[in-house]
Amino acid sequence: MQMSEKDVAALVKEISGSDVKKCMKCGKCSATCPAYGEMRFHPHQFVAMVARGRVEELLKDPTVTRCLSCFACVERCPRGVEPANVVAAIRVLAEREQEGNNFSPADVPKLLSQDPEIPQQALVSAFRKYRK
């Protein structure tokens, strides 16, 4: 059964564990975001849009993966909103929905041939990040 946009938004809230209603729209998350320039939507927009139930555009946005999960927004949010968790929830749902595997084991040899110094950790986290 197809979920409505509103239901997906509710799911985002649930799996992110974030209470988006607590946001007072100060923008500190976006002020502190090191990936601001790389992303189509910015942390405060994720929070605001999820709060309003507008998640479709977010789910379609490929730049969601540019979030560094650095937690600066979470740390500095005066309201305890945890925007990074919202971004992560959107990314995970998008990957689940698209059966989206944006990173495959087949990519690894090529990457390693380009740069043999790539640490294990980078590969493991890439699997975590880009695959369902």
């Binding site: 990936a35 640490p119 590969l123």
Partner: protein, 267 residues
């Protein structure tokens, strides 16, 4: 005093020096590090969505192994430290996750976050003491202007990590001071280097690294130290090599006079 030690996958491969320097230095300082048997990869990234339990289980196994040995669990890699500490916190505070993880693993004694996870730096500061460490230094790093690079994983989220003041951390600076070096404080030391996207979005990672290195340089740093293999890779890759990046354990190894001893032995 003996501790359980969790090296993690990268320290067995690309970051062997981080591991070796850490172990050898601990030995020289009289600290026993016992590698956990049959450990598995911690997963490298803490799963941020609440409905993912399976991806936390390998961390729980490691935590349980330390609990069963009755030891504190020492980590060295920042990513492992982040994952293990946060999963441990979930097991301690989140009934939803705790009951599911225990159901799945079905251990003889259910796990409820009893293990104390400490980072190698905390081991030196809180268990050994930086004063004690300073006395063990044979080869003080005199005149070296060293910028600590904390990154994100050790510090955030601070409520869970409880590592240091997340906005004005001091532990690595104090560590450098104990080794006889001159710490250089710069504002970007707790900002992300972008390592998480280093495989797919190099340009983005580069922007972050450049900001950090420029800031460290402007404040007078001549070298940078880190505890994270991924940061190390990223910080080295996206610069011209004019700013040396070292592991914290390498510095320690050097200050304890062990590097010199190696060189002498080679001769």
């Amino acid at each position: 005093m003996n501790y359980s030690y969790y090296p993690g996958c990268t320290l067995k491969t690309k970051a062997q020096e981080l591991d070796r320097y850490g172990r050898e230095s601990a030995k020289a300082l009289g600290i026993g590090l016992e590698e956990i048997d049959d450990w598995q990869c911690c997963g490298a990234v803490y799963p941020m969505v609440r409905d993912e339990i399976a991806t936390k289980l390998s961390a729980v196994r490691t935590l349980m192994a330390a609990r069963d040995k009755g030891q504190k669990l020492v980590t060295l890699c920042s990513a492992c430290h982040n994952v293990l500490t946060r999963v441990n916190n979930d097991m301690r505070t989140d009934e939803y996750i705790r009951s599911r993880a225990n159901n799945y693993l079905d251990p003889a004694v259910p796990y409820a976050g009893e293990t104390q996870v400490i980072h190698y730096l905390q081991l030196l500061r809180d268990e050994l003491g930086f004063e004690q460490l300073a006395q063990a230094v044979k080869n003080p790093l005199k005149g070296r202007k060293i910028g600590a690079y904390y990154g994100c994983l050790l510090l955030r989220p601070s409520k869970v990590m409880a590592f240091d003041d997340p906005e004005n951390p001091r532990i690595i600076e104090d560590f450098v001071r104990a080794l006889g070096g001159t710490p250089v404080v710069y504002g970007m030391r707790n900002e992300c280097c972008g390592a998480y996207v280093t495989l797919k979005d190099e340009a983005q990672a580069r922007v972050n690294v450049e900001r950090i290195i420029a800031n460290a340089r402007s404040q007078g740093a001549e070298e940078i130290i880190t505890a994270c293999p991924l940061c190390m890779y990223n910080l080295k890759k996206h610069q011209d090599g004019s700013m040396p990046v070292r592991y914290i354990t390498e510095l320690l190894y050097e200050a304890l006079g062990l590097k010199e001893a190696d060189a002498n032995a080679d001769e």
